[in-house]
Symmetry: C2
Subunit: 454 residues, 2 copies
């Protein structure tokens, strides 16, 4: 490990130059016009893996953008780490808000500004540099390594799950390592051990067969918007808990330790509220805001429509109204089960004046990784050594579907060791990644491999 | 009166031909391309008034389409009737659904098919023919007559209220006569003595300063759509009554007589439900469907919006949500007062996480005409003589703003003696007016003038 750490320190300036070259490639996966650039970027990643010392490197077709795969089995007796990342990036619009062009990487105040610098080229690349530091520094890895770097993360990862399904043997490993999340705060290293799942449905209520005149029919024909509002309102109680029967049944309670960790996190609620300009938070009774956004299930209406939305006053009693409703889930809630429960709620409460259309649009399972397992402890130790302080184990409110896929299809837990920061402006103009975090990430990755092999 | 009735019977075929000529003019007031035709129609109406025997006839500019005014003061001691009507029509689209072209009037099965035949050229014209029957038949009118025929009813009557305001002396009268409503059912004559008023507002709730990721923020940031749904749901109780404090305070209760009349009306609720394809009606507890749509106040959401309304699943926690909310009012509710009450309700219930925008878009006062006054009794007697049965006094759920304007600005009550039928298809393809009703309308108008003069 010491040799690898020294190698990384010695060659860090070159590592920065190589990342800058990778960031010059506009690998925008959502825009078909950039398909050639996406492929060029896959080739560049493959070249970097070869230069790092991998002999087995493949750019594999998926039907969409290619997946870069590499592996080196140092010794079947050693544990195997599967590194996942993505080399594609978000579109850079609006271009006029960038201080320097998105694909002309520029260093200012210790930060590297470019589209993809933090999400995810920079964070993915630091693991390739870890491998190089070992292989070029000492000629061998402390663990077996596999790399799975996809090119469709920013466009929905349509081909990833099928790829994993058809390559179960190839991808067999003891742990997945992903750096595509954020640290809790600057200088506060953290490992994400929980992610919420998602259930997303669309409902529509139909009353009369056509839009009616509210003067001639109002008072005896029930209004789909009013009914929909009533049904939505009934989904929460006064304590801001979801009322759907059975909704909380499968929720694993927060342990005292977990709650203590949440309480200890340096969460600046005032600054957080100010950032989105709300006067007050609103959390399920008995839980903090931080617990509410990461460790408790929620129900939100994501969209609603019905009747006349234009200028002025149109006196319509509409024929229909609809809404998109999503629920963030925590272990051990099942997306299919909660959709079933929500459907039952609607069926029980839709009045005889209305017909209901109910569509299950999208779902993803929640994830909770045992923090005591070797890979998690190795990552914690690596971060501790790198930052001089114990990292926090944190939970995130969003979903990373691939983490649930790895668990479901391969049975492998994921270590989410992120080096991003909230102000990296990912998906926005002036995305950047701190060079200090790039360096710390490489060193932490080197240490992780070492500790995990022990 | 007998002379006039005989004159009308004798010249009825010519009266039909003249109406057909008037219906050939495409006086579509909403479409600026037809402004010339609208003016030509005003001129034609003025010519018909002159041919009927009026010496004072004016086509008066309004800033929009002209108003046709005529008057004949037979004797200052006689009562004065102000006939209101409109010569403009709705656009005829979709043209392909007309059996015969909208501006080529065609008689089929005793009905005259053309745009405007029922709404309102045919119903307006029958009063001109009444005047002609008196003036050409016997040389004098039994009452003083004023005609106010506007050309902007189908496009909002923007210039009508200012016109009335600036011509108060000119328009002075003892009663207003309007034929622009429907009979209760075929062969069931009726006089509308009540119209609901309207209060129409737009509300918007703003939570966070921008749309947020529902995974990262859901659970601690209150969702404007969910709050709006809760506030809307709270506007009704389980008995389908409006909960706004004070809402019913000014409502004049239905009398036992009125309720008996409602119960006696030949209302086919099953057919009515089938026409709009609803399985059940939903009325304020304690009231019939017919009472609900005409004699009780209501609250309906006319439109709602917020968040993502497109295809698929977007996990947004929206920054804002809005709705258009209207209330149909009955005497003696005041639009300004109920808007005030609704505003107070929102102010009291909007949580500290949200800011409220509240806009008063539109209002109109409810109308209830004393059925015992001479003009109403004269109309009832005229209908009785014409149809051989007692007419019903009915209330309508919609608003006719000009009726409230006449009351407010001139202090005059309106007699709504309509000869339309629900299946006249006004505002739709194949609009028609029964020639029998055209004839009955002329005779009833002649009798009304006679009885009112007595």
């Amino acid at each position: 490990m010491q040799t690898a750490l020294q190698y990384a320190a010695h060659h860090f300036d070159r590592f920065v130059d190589e990342l800058i070259e990778l960031l010059r490639i506009p690998s925008i996966s959502t825009d078909p016009a950039y398909a050639g650039e996406v492929r060029r970027c896959a080739m560049a990643v493959a070249d970097h893996l070869r230069m790092a010392g991998f002999e087995i490197v493949e750019v594999m077709d998926t039907g969409g953008h290619p997946i870069v795969y590499a592996e080196r089995i140092e010794d079947p007796a050693l544990p195997t780490v599967l590194v996942y990342g993505h080399y594609d990036v978000q579109p850079p619009d609006p271009l006029e808000l960038w201080t320097s062009p998105p694909f002309e990487p520029t260093i200012r105040n210790g930060r590297l500004f470019a589209r993809g610098s933090s999400d995810d080229k920079g964070q993915m690349f630091l693991h390739i540099k870890m491998a190089e530091a070992y292989l070029q520094g000492s000629g061998r890895l402390p663990v077996n390594l596999k790399f799975l770097i996809e090119g469709e993360e920013e466009s929905g990862s349509k081909n990833l799950r099928p790829f994993i399904e058809t390559h179960r043997d190839l991808l067999r490993a003891d742990a997945v390592m992903i750096s595509d999340t954020s640290m809790f705060a600057p200088g506060i290293p953290s490992i994400t051990y929980g992610l919420r799942g998602l259930a997303y449905v669309q409902v529509e209520l139909t009353g009369p067969s056509r839009d009616l005149h509210s003067g001639m029919f109002g008072g005896a024909i029930e209004n789909p918007i009013n009914v929909l509002a009533r049904l939505i309102a009934g989904l929460h109680d006064a304590r801001h808990r979801v009322t759907i029967p059975g909704f909380y049944d499968a929720v694993r309670p927060l342990t005292a330790d977990e709650r203590a960790t949440f309480a200890a996190l340096p969460f600046d609620e005032a600054a957080w509220k100010a950032a989105v300009r709300v006067a007050a938070t609103r959390t399920e009774a008995g839980y903090s805001a931080l617990e509410g956004i990461s460790a408790r299930p929620t129900l939100d209406v994501n969209g609603i429509w019905g009747g006349y939305q234009g200028e002025g006053a149109k006196t319509v009693l509409p024929a229909r109204a609809g809404a998109k409703i999503s629920m963030r889930l925590v272990p051990d809630q099942s997306p299919a089960d909660v959709v079933q429960m929500l459907h039952a709620y609607f069926m029980a409460h839709v009045p005889p004046t209305m017909t209901l259309t109910f569509k299950d649009l999208h779902g993803g399972k929640p994830v909770l990784v045992d923090t005591t397992q070797p890979a998690m402890q190795a990552a914690a130790r690596a971060l501790h050594d790198t930052y001089g302080k114990q990292p926090f184990f944190t939970r995130e409110g969003g979903s990373i579907p691939v983490v649930a896929d790895f668990k479901e299809l391969l049975g492998i837990d994921t270590v989410l060791m992120g080096f991003g920061l909230d102000d990296d402006a990912i998906h926005s103009p002036d995305e950047s990644f701190g060079l200090d975090r790039y360096r710390q990430g490489i060193l932490a990755s080197i240490r992780f491999a070492h500790y995990f092999s022990a």
